[in-house]
Symmetry: C2
Subunit: 244 residues, 2 copies
């Protein structure tokens, strides 16, 4: 019963799409490639969406509706943002993205739930949303016209990811551990008095590093242990001496 | 000046699309992936196409318009059909298709012009059109809902093909030689008195075999030589004796 492959489950999260035709087109291509977990955050929805979904009305009908991004991703182990613009260099770590094939390679054997997040037709994902992503994916496009229709971007990404995810894997809940790791890292920053104005960037950088590494459960547990141990020893022997 | 890589040029041929929004969406994704040779055979075209093309209006404006399929492909070296339905087995050679990745592997170093043909939203390509194709490509989809939106299919195929075709190669005219090969094969069938009702199938099978093999110029010349030589010797020494 538990002999299924250890491959991730994928959810498609659409954020702020104004054109409901695009929402329907995404539902259709999800069904074409065997995906079904659709989440809509402030997206247009109606008759045109149903029309464009063609025979994927069931995907639309069972889509989960959210009014804020945070709630839509809270059960996900890994959140993958998609970016239409490529920073080119790693200078701007916030925008540094990998290819769909690299994502497949990293996460093909990941036991958990991976969210693929696509943003607004005009502005894509906001910085606050990008910051929450564990890693970013960029589809290689022509510099002459890099901005793809959102349903085309979904089609390409799901096509690449589909090839090794024909069966839906049994899920091992790693989400709690990874979020515990980020919590532990944040607590550590607090405790060591890391400059307030640099904390956010540090957290995002760490999140991305963990995301790109496709961290294992053992590594997560180990890192949490290390961070907690750091915090404890500082709290026990430094400025927080005496509090315990 | 001639040091560019030997890679094929691609043309996208749309046949009988009724929805002009799809035509516009195809133009957009072509520009996203750096392709520009669009050919339209009996397709709808108008304001909605322009709207959906977004910043790829130039691709639409320079599209070549044809009223029959044969004229649209006559300058192409290789014609690749796309099929939404997979026969599954090689039983039906007419429908036997390879994957986009296999196509890339076979034709990455081909010096010539490759046409990618996409058919009607409802019926796809007709049998007469499929027969003219040198090989077929099928995008791996869910059996539950295999029929993709045509612009999604274009997006996936161009994404896969794009990765090794960043520069447009200088073209070597192999088209004439390959069509000469098929002509020679047909003449051979005629000359050997091949059963009339099986000729068409034989020609299609040969066309597909040549297509899948990604035939080289040397091989083409050699085969033409062989066929012509066969025809000549039969004509010279058998039932056509005395005609020369």
């Amino acid at each position: 019963l538990r002999r299924r492959e250890s491959i991730p489950e994928f959810a498609v999260v659409l954020v702020g799409l104004k054109n409901e035709g695009n929402v329907g087109a995404v539902a259709r291509v999800m069904k074409n490639f065997g995906f079904n977990d659709l989440r809509l955050v402030n997206c247009a929805l109606g008759e045109e969406a149903n029309k464009r979904a063609m025979h994927a009305g069931d995907i639309l009908a069972s889509a989960k509706i959210f009014s804020d991004f945070e709630s839509s991703i809270k059960d996900l182990d890994i959140v993958v943002g998609t970016s239409g613009v490529d920073s080119g260099a790693e200078k701007n770590y916030l925008r540094h993205a990998i290819s769909p094939e690299e994502l497949l390679k990293k996460y093909a054997r990941f036991r958990g739930k991976v969210g693929l997040v696509f943003g607004r037709e005009d502005f894509g994902l906001l910085n606050t949303e990008l910051e929450r992503c564990d890693l970013l994916v960029k589809i290689d496009t022509s510099p002459v016209y890099p901005i793809m229709n959102v349903s085309h971007a979904v089609a390409v990404l799901l096509y690449v990811l589909r090839r090794k995810s024909k069966k839906v894997a049994s899920r091992k809940p790693e989400a709690m551990e990874i979020s515990e790791l980020h919590l532990a890292f944040g607590e550590l920053l607090d405790l060591i008095g890391y400059p307030e104005h640099r904390k956010k960037n540090a957290k995002v950088m760490f999140r991305r590093l963990v995301g790109r590494a496709c961290i294992t459960r053992l590594e997560t547990t180990m890192l949490i242990g290390v961070f907690r141990r750091c915090a404890k020893s500082r709290g026990g022997f430094d400025e927080h001496k005496g509090e315990h």
